[in-house]
């Protein structure tokens, strides 16, 4: 298989397979969590579950005001990385063109300079978070192999994409292949790792808000 054929496979069958693993894997995972269920609450409710559950899915995005310096760093760098990642993913013209081919519709792209800033900030935030994970006693204690692996799997598509846009590294064909492969690795890893939090977080927040709401606690 020459580099051209490899690229064709990676952007065709490879991407389809990775997407299928991600979608089916996450569907299975979410169904499994939902089917595990919970016991019916027999205590008389003071409030309700659905409203507070749905509210918490949104409101929990704003964390406690009272945070230590290490907490503030985590929040600021974490938000920068998440926002930057999604801006780069969803508003780069090449990404939109690819998604349009699959979805049949697209949306306006951001100028390359804006994507550039988002990508650099995201890469910087991710590196800072990695260093912090290793240096901060709490995070270091909590972290295992999977935390570093998922960091790497998230970092690689960003880095290879950045290199691709700037013509850094191998020839364009090989770099694009590497970029797509890194994306596929990330997609495959999502259902099997803590990256699943991209969807399970919303169920977790719902439960949290619903438990509090049932008791009439405005959490």
């Amino acid at each position: 298989m020459n580099p051209q054929e490899l690229l064709l496979w990676v952007r065709g069958t490879g991407l389809q397979l990775a997407t299928a693993v991600c979608v089916l894997g996450m569907t299975y995972r979410l169904l499994h969590l939902a089917l595990l269920g919970r016991k019916k609450n027999l205590a008389e409710a003071r409030g309700s579950e659905w409203g507070p559950g749905l509210r918490t899915m949104w409101r929990r995005s704003f964390v406690l005001p009272e945070l230590s310096a290490r907490g503030k760093f985590t929040v600021v760098a974490g938000y920068t990385f998440h926002f930057g990642f999604f801006i780069t993913l969803l508003f780069l013209s090449q990404h939109i063109a690819m998604l349009r081919a699959v979805l049949g519709f697209g949306w306006p792209a951001l100028p390359h300079s804006a994507i550039e800033i988002a990508a650099i900030l995201t890469l910087a935030a991710m590196i800072a978070l990695l260093v912090h994970r290793y240096m901060d006693p709490v995070k270091r204690m909590l972290s295992g192999f999977e935390d570093y692996l998922t960091w790497l799997l998230t970092f690689l598509p960003l880095l290879s994409g950045f290199m691709l846009l700037h013509g850094i590294g191998p020839a364009y064909t090989q770099m694009l292949t590497l970029h797509l492969l890194s994306v596929e690795l990330l997609l495959i890893a999502i259902p099997f790792t803590k990256l699943a939090h991209m969807l399970t977080t919303f169920s977790a927040r719902w439960y949290n808000g619903a438990f509090a709401g049932y008791k009439g606690v405005k959490a």
């Binding site: 499994h32 205590a43 929990r60 406690l64 006693p137």
Partner: protein
């Protein structure tokens, strides 16, 4: 109770329901819950990070509920949960967790960490790794009727004394009364002034009420231990008494965990809804106030604050009622920093105050409450939980602080308007 490692592991596994599996799936190890826990903030020791207290349970989840975990486990490549590990975790799951629930409000992915701690304790106790002090308290409650060994005879002596003090008759075992009053052992032993206080308030507001000789103590150390069976036995006694007396309401005492046990866990522990309603004494007083049945006179001008008991507020939803009552009798009421659902725990909930070996750590954790109090310079702390009251008094004494601690019900009783 027979205990074994495998029994404990099985029990812990049984506790992993949809919410717990979702919470473990969502944790990104950000460590933000550490900032919400007074045991971490005051010691800066990472081991007190709330989510870390669940590590053995997290591994069981990983090994049995995830693809890679199951695979590694079948290949013999996963790290099993051992007796030694659970023994090492006992002080984390009990001594340094008051089940205050502040971490559950802080977690950015939404994990209700204290929900998980409560469930993990179920496995810890079956594995034989629960503190002897809480086990002893539960055993006394089962055998004698209360965790401090208080029997109905002790309450009867207080009732007689209160009748003499107030000139009123205190109803006991009165079938058909509207309300059945429950107390905590700490109230009976240390703050028995609550008995004449409620007697006078209920007489003033014309509340039909009674004590039950076979269901008067609400502290549920079985729940703090993490033993649903024993917790159900304890709450079941109150239910049986309430059903025997055909009351419409059971009044939860000024005791945070009694309220959680009776109001929120009780029906789930006994496996059926109650035929009566449960109200916290402060909820009832506020209802009486709102209905114009609780008339007070005079204002206390002492500079005072209110300490929110975690189980009543953050885990119970009774937030505004004590403030409305306080404003009726106190002209110089100030809030602590972070009042209401964000309030910091006294450091003694969840059974921690019963664990003797945990006292030095509890006093270190109390520095968080101290800093809240130092910020507002009050003379009096009002609260509505007898355990908080004891822990606050201990901490104030330990740090040579001058404030006095007062129960809200007693404060209201002191200001009752004279009968016309």
């Amino acid at each position: 109770m027979t205990t074994s490692l495998q029994g404990g592991i099985n029990r812990m596994m049984e506790q992993i329901d949809g919410p717990i599996a979702t919470f473990f799936s969502s944790c990104v190890h950000c460590g933000l819950c550490a900032d919400a826990c007074l045991f971490y903030t005051e010691t800066q020791n990472p081991k007190y990070t709330p989510i870390h207290k669940l590590e053995p349970m997290r591994r069981l989840w990983q090994q049995e509920f995830t693809f890679w975990g199951k695979l590694m486990s079948r290949l013999g490549l996963s790290k099993p949960v051992t007796d030694a590990e659970l023994a090492a975790w006992e002080p984390l799951v009990y001594d340094s967790c008051t089940m205050c629930g502040r971490c559950s409000l802080a977690c950015p992915v939404g994990n209700d960490i204290v929900y998980m701690v409560r469930k993990m304790r179920e496995g810890m106790v079956v594995s034989g790794h629960a503190p002897d002090d809480i086990k002893g308290a539960t055993q006394r409650a089962i055998e004698l009727g209360g965790p401090m060994g208080i029997t109905f005879a002790t309450l009867q002596a207080h009732i007689k004394h209160a009748e003499k003090e107030t000139g009123l008759t205190i109803p006991v075992d009165q079938i058909g009364a509207d309300y059945m009053m429950v107390l905590s052992s700490a109230e009976i032993a240390d703050f028995s002034e609550i008995i004449p206080a409620v007697t006078r308030i209920f007489d003033h507001a014309k509340v039909s009420w009674t004590f039950a000789s076979d269901g008067f103590e609400g502290t549920n150390s079985g729940m703090q231990l993490g033993s649903s069976d024993l917790a159900a036995e304890l709450v079941g006694r109150l239910v049986k008494a309430a059903e025997r007396l055909k009351v419409k309401y059971v009044i939860s005492p000024e005791c945070g965990h009694a309220y959680t046990a009776l109001r929120w866990e009780g029906p789930n522990l006994i496996g059926r809804p109650y035929p009566f309603k449960v109200v916290h004494i402060i909820e009832l007083l506020d209802e009486l106030r709102a209905a114009g049945r609780l008339r007070t006179e005079g204002m206390d001008d002492t500079r005072l604050t209110f300490h929110d008991p975690c189980q009543m507020v953050r885990r119970g939803g009774v937030v505004e009622q004590p403030r409305k009552l306080l404003k009726q009798v106190a002209s110089n009421f100030v809030e602590m920093p972070n009042p209401g659902v964000q309030n910091w725990c006294c450091g003694g909930g969840g059974g921690v105050s019963a664990i003797e070996r945990a006292e030095p750590l509890r006093q270190v954790a109390f520095k968080r409450k101290k800093s809240q109090l130092d910020a507002i310079n009050v003379n009096t702390i009002v609260t509505s939980c007898s355990n908080c009251r004891n822990v606050l008094q201990d901490g104030l004494e330990h740090y040579h602080m001058p404030q006095q601690v007062v129960g809200l019900t007693e404060l209201i009783a002191e200001h009752l308007a004279e009968k016309k």
